[in-house]
Amino acid sequence: MATDTIVGIDLGTTNSLVAYMRGDCPHVIPGEDGLNLVPSVVALDENNQILVGNAARKYLIETPERAVYSVKRLMGRGLEDIQQELKMFPFRLADDLQSGEVIRIKLGTRTFTPPEISAFILRQLKRNAERFFAAPVTQAVITVPAYFNDAQRQATKDAGRIAGLNVLRLVNEPTAASLAYGLDKNKHGIVAVYDLGGGTFDISILKLHDGIFEVVATNGDTHLGGDDIDNLLIAIALDDIRGDLGLDVRRNGEAVARIRKAVIEAKIALSSQPSAKLDVDLPGGKKYQREVSVEMFEQMIQPILDRTVGPCKQALKDAGLKPEQVDEVVLVGGSTRIPKVRRLTEDLFRRVPHTDLNPDEVVALGAAVQANILGGGSEITKEMLLLDVTPLSLGIEVAGGVTDKIILRNSTVPASATQYYTTQIDGQTNVAIHVLQGERELARDCRSLARFDLKGVPPMPAGLPRIEVKFLIDANGILRVSAREQRSGQEAEIDVQPSYGLTDEQVENMLLESFDFAEEDFRQRQIIEARREAETILTALAKGKNSPAWQELQGVERGRIGALEQALVEVKDGDDYHAIREGIDTLNQATMRLAELMMDTAVSTALKGKAMDDADLEEGPRAGHPVAKADFE
């Protein structure tokens, strides 16, 4: 059986998707409800069961303290970084949270870290794919905003691991989109991907030619997206309500959730209508109603959209290009459906943007293409290669609190740098290094990535050891560090204190805990595997019926087999694992003699010297021989 399909996953702020490549084309895998988009919403129901997606959405309004959305905004971040988010989103933090600890969010009576919440979403997507393939899915490519820093990327990888997925690669969202766009071999030239999603904004400039997708420069803002537009409108509505109706509903979770829903619907409507009406039921029987015109809307959101201009200009500057030199502009992300956004990109790049691709799905489709490449490639992808870059400069803190940049932003990855250190004190056996990401001069203005403690330096007089430290940013954009004392050849042991991340141990524990929630998964898997086995035996039986051996059976035997076959067919597509299991076992028993007879025929045919082709040998042992049953435990 071929190796399991590697899937491509878009883990979005607002919606998530899973896709795979079939032949020439990537396809999104729908959920059980038939929909391609899984809202990135997680809720804990009354029975403390986790719900994901559309099923979780109603909790947002009815019992908002049991639900969470846009958790991507919290991934890889510390308490200090999310102050803005806390003001704008109803995130409820765990009561006992210490500073420096990984954030935990309350859902009902339980608390979860952002990677755990993302893992619930990933697990849902995994299940959808497994149901679709009727086979296990264990490997995936997951996309991240190009501007995500190391901690945010690591958090995403952790989420994958907790969900039981081997994350083969993290791909930057604009790059993934360009893959979907560039599947058409005729595409070449300079492409700008403008990706305005729910929570993050990325702009990437790529050079496409001969199947090579080379990112030249990337920039963005990981605190900017459609959510900000929503929040602005909500704030205006809340002010209105206080002014017109004298009500302050800011603290009323349910009211705010209703307003949010109305505001989002209006926003979407305004992409194709000249005006939209807000109509919200408030507590106490009051109603909030307001008409919003497109002009008003565009004026309100102008400052938010303006924030995308700076990064675009910087990216062009880093790429050494003028806007006119861009051949194509590709729009990604639901927010790019807003006509004002389209006009903005038209002005920026002096051309009409390409809007053929579905902005909600293009990233997942691109991830599926990358998954295909990693899996060995197929006809259409075998000439394709992605050359991506690191978005932020990597630096070390040196004397004076200054950042010494060792790998510059927009360097193609994998990229490395080697630094040499020595000791200050006689006999000193470890060296501490503080690694940062960012463009600023002072260490305190950059993002602390981690503190590396190099241990095991052989004791020597001060200044004598020569510790070679190698910094490597891999193809996922994540940093790896290795160190060696050169005089002794001793590998240094590196203790990593991630500034905003989970340690390996914590991830392992979460993975174990996740098995509680994996009950459902396990059950699903059992059923899927039993179904497969049922299908195998039924197929083998169908062939068996066409073989001469069938004729050698008694009529009574044939009748019995036929009845059991029918019974199995009836239960196999149902949800009763035990019924399917029983059906398989009894049919196996009943067809033992048939199997033996078929084996004899095959052997005797071979002995008679017939050509392999002539003898129906493929009907024999190989095709899931009922007696030689695999152990499915």
């Binding site: 490449i373 990693l374 899996g375 290669l385 200054v402």
Partner: protein
């Protein structure tokens, strides 16, 4: 993969700077061992993959020129370099080793990071020049980390030698800039002064460009030397050319910093 004779000779050189604490060590500067053989089929190996069976090889520390199979010359055909970069990327990139075993994956990771670093360095004319100087054992004054650290901790300005031919110009310009800064503090505005400074800046920018042409002339001298392969008195000639190049780079950096100061003052 072309490894010119010039390359093999140049690699015999000993790391005399090993004892110094500066980060002068140039990536890949290690004497080459006896040619190793392919782990998969036993044939002698080329730098990145076996020329016989095509399997990726563990990375061997080599300098960036050798990595690309280019001679250690300063003139470089940018399009040829790019072509080679893409060709090597297609063979070494980690994405292509998704299904390979962990050892090959590790080698591909190291090889492709070296490929990217090498490409980045050789692609830019100044970086390429500086790299060659370092390979040849020349310490770049401006980039001396020790000097920078010392300057930072002591708070002093790093000592920069003013190029002789610019002495007068620099002196006058600095006076003007002082005046400008003083005026700004008082909120005054002197268009005549700004014009003077503007002209000075233009002159400096012209010098900057001229220096690049001087550099290219030295490139040609160096390359001719490398081509000639004459072993008599070559070392001395090499040192001379390298010293000249270093001087040009330093002067160019000085001018660049000066223009930057002017821009800052004029903001």
């Amino acid at each position: 993969m072309v490894a010119g004779a010039g390359c093999a000779l140049a690699l015999n050189f000993v790391m005399t700077n090993a004892e110094s604490k500066s980060s002068l060590i140039v990536p890949g500067q290690v004497p080459r061992e006896a040619t190793p053989s392919c782990w998969s089929c036993g044939t002698m190996r080329a730098v990145h993959f076996c020329s016989s069976c095509g399997k990726v090889q563990p990375p061997v520390p080599v300098d960036y020129f050798t990595f690309f199979g280019f001679p250690r010359k300063l003139n470089l055909d940018a399009s040829q370099l790019e072509k080679e970069f893409y060709a090597l990327s297609r063979k070494l990139h980690p994405d292509l080793f998704g299904q390979a075993d962990s050892e090959e994956r590790a080698w591909s990771l190291e090889q492709s990071s070296m490929l990217n670093d090498a490409y980045r360095t050789l692609k830019d004319p100044i970086r390429r020049t500086e790299y060659l100087l370092r390979l040849e054992g020349v310490e770049l004054e401006e980039q001396s980390k020790k000097a920078t650290e010392k300057a930072r901790t002591s708070g002093e300005l790093k000592k920069q030698v003013v190029p002789a031919d610019l002495l007068e110009e620099v002196f006058e310009l600095n006076l003007h800039l002082e005046e400008l800064r003083a005026q700004k503090k008082l909120g005054e505005d002197d268009p005549a002064l700004l014009e003077e400074i503007g002209k000075a800046k233009l002159s400096l920018e012209e010098k900057y460009d001229a220096l690049f042409n001087e550099l290219k002339a030295q490139w040609n001298r160096w390359d001719r030397l490398v081509d000639s392969e004459a072993s008599e008195g070559t070392d001395d000639d090499r040192r001379k050319i390298l010293a000249t190049i270093l001087d040009i780079l330093n002067r160019r950096n000085y001018v660049r910093n000066l223009v930057r100061d002017v821009n800052e003052a004029m903001e």
